[in-house]
Amino acid sequence: MPVIEVRNLRKQYADQVAVADVSLSVDEGEIFGLVGPNGAGKTTTVECIEGLRTADSGTVRVLGLDPRRDRAAVRQKLGIQLQESQLPDRIKVWEVLDLYSSFYPHPADWRALMDELGLGPKRNTVFAKLSGGQKQRLSIALALVGNPSVAILDELTTGLDPQARRDTWELIRHVRDRGVTVLLVTHFMDEAERLCDRLAVVAAGRVVAVDTPRNLIAGAQVPGVERPTLEDAILSLTSARSI
């Protein structure tokens, strides 16, 4: 049974179609990437998977459960990192980790997680005084503090410096090695290529390809480019759609 299964998802805001028809399935223990240009419908798709939005039509299952109807059960097993979400200015790093771990029946050890993400030296620092990268790492820690079976990470490494990005990738691999299934929304092709086992390429609200990064590159036909990169491959898949 796939860990995440989406069938013919459709979501429209007023007269704008955000997701036209998305189907995908994420297997246990893989790191699955969702890539595509801005406005392609990636974030709306994951918000429907997270149960934060109700789809107009189609079905979504997470661990066999409906994220809207079985909200409570899904919440306990799903760790979510939201794009651009903040915390109160005056809350300290350890306080927020301690607080969020108390929301889950079988939480991870937040102290270990704090050290793993390099936030140990900042444990008594308030949120407003953290750098962009530290805030991002705290956000990742909060997605993992409930010891989830599935983690959905939206723009994982935005705002991180090159070393911090590589450290974060390493962390996500460790998380996966512990048996957590990861769904990753990303803009960065190097991240998609190095971190993801499989990718779904989304354009104009539809999935245009699902494959491993290697196969996507191998199958790319880009006129005038001898050795196309993943970026070339994805651009050629998505640009055809947006015209």
Binding site: E50, L52, S85, S102
Partner: protein, 247 residues
């Protein structure tokens, strides 16, 4: 410890870390009584138009209703508005805990601050100026509780329907200042003109102020005032629950 108890504890800590908010919510009422009592001529002399009571004795319950308005229309509205705008409520809704818990915690922390503030104001009035305790203690607790509930409901409704934290704060202040007028901050006790009193009867803070003053003077709050406060709590609270947006 349950998640809610832990949220309340953390919100209380955050409240205590904001010195400006702390000052206005907790210290201001006591300071106001102290300044009025020391500086305003005649406020400590028994007044004929108050049946021989001290004007300060009328000002103390008014200050307490002012404290209700400050905590609800300034602190509570501001924090809830910014929690929504900054995605904090939304983030909480990704966990097994409902973001309602955060609203409950905010109300609990602000009501606790309000009780401390009123306790301090009372302490100053009693020890420095010999103001006697409320004539009708049960009536006082009843009027104060209902007044605080009605204003909490109003605060949550303002936070529910305003589109941004700035708008929440702005609307909160637009309500705050005229409400102080109806609460009798400038025209205490019998000095309030009849027309103003008739309007005040039907505003949540006006009804609270008049009811608390009645109880302090020793009588029971009127049924009208109690009914007005209950009605505002139920109607505004219901609307807030219906229209609250988490993001």
């Amino acid at each position: 410890m349950t998640a809610l108890a832990k949220i309340i504890r953390v919100e209380a800590k955050l409240f205590l870390r904001d010195p400006v908010g702390m000052f206005f919510a907790i210290a201001f009422p006591a300071l106001l009584i102290l300044v009025l009592g020391l500086a305003m001529p005649g406020i400590r002399e028994p007044a004929d138009e108050l049946d021989g009571r001290l004007p300060l004795e009328v000002y103390l319950p008014i200050t307490m209703t002012l404290a209700i308005a400050t905590v609800t229309m300034m602190t509570l509205v501001g924090v809830v508005g910014s929690y929504r705008e900054r995605g904090i409520l939304r983030r909480l809704s990704t966990t097994p805990v409902s973001p309602t818990a955060l609203l409950v915690a905010q109300v609990a922390v602000n009501v606790a601050a309000l009780l401390v503030a009123c306790g301090l104001a009372w302490l100053v009035a009693a020890t420095v100026f010999d103001v006697p305790p409320p004539g009708n203690a049960v009536g006082f607790v009843l009027a104060f509780t209902l007044g605080a509930s009605a204003m909490c409901a109003l605060a949550l409704l303002v936070a529910a329907v305003t589109p941004s934290a700035r708008a929440s704060m702005g609307v909160g202040q637009l309500i705050y200042f005229p409400m102080m007028f109806f609460a009798g901050v400038w025209t205490p006790g019998p000095q309030m003109p009849d027309l103003v009193r008739k309007i005040a009867d039907f505003t949540p803070l006006g009804a609270a102020s008049l009811a608390v003053q009645d109880a302090w003077a020793g009588s029971w709050p009127t049924l009208l005032h109690l009914a007005v406060m209950v009605a505002f709590t139920v109607v505004l609270g219901g609307l807030a629950a219906r229209y609250f947006r988490w993001e």
